[in-house]
Symmetry: none
Subunit: 216 residues, 4 copies
């Protein structure tokens, strides 16, 4: 008589869970190794499936990557957009909130590695660069510009050059991401990200807020 115990199926049927599992594995490896250097076989293995299985869910490597971006970053961007749209208070507080939220939702998280990866490999994968540019970067840039415009319109910020100031505000995010995913791990004296952001914001807002009345 056959012993039914211990008979492990050659594989398990997990249609619904698979994409998530694969995406999770993919994110880890893309962040660890970059796009070009990530082997699909490793992604599959980490998700506990065979190489072929990946292709049941994602047409090819690029589509897998896009799926990663779509599920891990795009929703956060969208959420930020609506959070901005619904915000009531002072634009300086809005800026601070958005930056801090970004840190919590993206920066501190491994998904920030995706952004760094795109910066890194844009040249070799123009299709990917274009996709990320459209889905994330330009939306992000627009968000910051709109916050600055809001501040200016409401008289909360001085009448600064929006484009340039947008870049200034993006710089520390880029900085943190780059640091975290490249030199950071090698560096000893580490960066306190939130303190860094605060230092930065204090400085930036100095430049943004209108001159305070001489006597107060």
């Amino acid at each position: 008589m056959e012993c039914p115990i211990d008979t492990k199926p050659r594989w398990e049927r997990r249609k619904d869970a698979r994409p998530q599992e694969l995406l999770a594995a993919a994110i880890d490896l893309f962040v660890e190794r970059g796009f070009a250097s990530t082997r699909l076989e490793d992604v599959a293995r980490r998700a506990g499936v065979s190489k072929g299985t990946l292709y049941l869910y994602f047409e090819n490597k690029e589509e897998l990557f896009k799926a990663v971006v779509r599920t891990s970053i795009v929703p956060v961007v969208a959420e930020a957009e609506s959070s901005i749209a619904g915000f009531d208070g002072h634009s300086a507080d809005l800026l601070r909130k958005v930056l801090m939220d970004w840190w919590e939702r993206i920066g501190a998280n491994k998904v920030s590695g995706i952004g760094k990866l795109v910066m890194a490999e844009a040249g070799n994968f123009p299709e990917l660069a274009k996709f990320y540019q459209e889905e994330v970067i330009s939306r992000g840039t627009r968000m910051f510009s709109s916050m600055l415009e809001r501040g200016v319109t409401r008289g909360e910020f001085r009448d600064i050059n929006i484009t340039q100031m947008t870049q200034v505000l993006i710089a520390p995010m880029l900085m943190l991401v780059t640091w975290k995913h490249s030199v950071g791990p090698c560096e000893r004296g580490d960066l306190e990200p939130q303190a860094f952001l605060n230092t930065f914001l204090d400085m930036a807002l100095h430049g943004l807020l209108p001159a305070t009345p001489p006597a107060a």
Copy 2:
């Protein structure tokens, strides 16, 4: 009388020039395509030699890259260090000068691509990352910290958190380099680098300079 020393046949003079030619070719390709994606055969071809010749001068791809860093970036860092050491004036002017010099010598130049490349591929080539970290980044960081200390010591800057402010100052450089070598080429509304640096410096110095006495 002609000096016979100068009459060496062209190819023999070539011999000495080889490494430079190879390095020049390597820099171009590393910057264009990144480390992993640059084919040594292309480097050789661009330098007008054969693939095998490369290995006469450089042990392998990593050593070639290190040589690139050593010849194109390290000297600039060293020069900056001594320029700082010999500077007399106000620390704010020093900061401004160093940043602007950096833009002229590195940022605007293709060698800035090397920095971006290291950020990008550090994870896959830890040996390279470590090398760059030691030879360039930590020296650069130390330079900025020392300038800030100088300012504080001389009473020209407020008593700020040096580590954090160092990062703040590095951020825009990272920003410019990243922009130039990844999204920049895709993006429409382009960044005026020097204006951007000035905007940034104005803002940063606001935060650094001691509160001016109400009446002056």
Copy 3:
């Protein structure tokens, strides 16, 4: 009163139709793409079933192919055989009729692609080649030989080399099939198949009919 026999639910009637649907799909794809390049998944999809279902009806790809041959070509061969057996008239008319019938039933039809496919891939699938050889080619060859023998026996044809003339008669069929399924689609000046067959037959019968007595 309605006949209850006909009220079977649709899917149950479907059950019997499945093999035919699969065979129809298979024929299309085998002809379009050849044996090796046809994907069973595509066959299944075109028949509106899943990949696994195919394996309920056909052991594997080769058996599917054999079934295609058995249902689409073998019956036509059998019919031709009995049509020859029952023919009364002049052997030249018989030959002409058989060739023209072949064109109508096979040549002009997509099933001619099956023959071409076997010629094409025989080397890689010897089992298939053997099957087709036995079920179709040797029967077809025998048919032509027997017609020639009939003609000779009845004094309607000259006493030619049967084997060779059989090949001569097969050549134009091969020609038409090959043309139709490979170069034909690329070629501009197209072949009028029936005119071609007639030209050929006129020529061939010249060689077959006994010399006409000078005076008639």
Copy 4:
């Protein structure tokens, strides 16, 4: 002391001989297995080199195939063209000669398998089909048409439909090639190719030559 004898180099440097060796191996395997089923690794192995070496000489599989065609078939076609251009005698003799030469140079040879292969896989490799069509088939077709025209012009042939008769003349070549490379090897009673061609030509010329004067 090292014994210099018996030290076989890891590989041998044979730049000039390589392409021929590879082409020879390629022809064998393409003919044996067809285009799609031939593995480049096998081609390399048969030529005694590694897979990578193939790519030093041929850009990819398609180019390898084209090179095979260019070196093994195209020159024969060219030669036939000039042989026709320089022919003096009766057009019937010319036709006979060209067909027989074809058999000796191509038909009997393994290169005839290339033609069969193209017929077989044209649908799956349109690029290849186009190439072969242009370089071989249309040139061959033109050759036959021009011979027929010559015959008609010189009053040696009746005024037949050139296009159709061209196809009729091509049919037996197709027949022989197909036979040789597919069913032939399975078939017992084999075809005597030269006898077959003669039988065919006798028959065809019957149809081509002008009616002989009743009394002679």
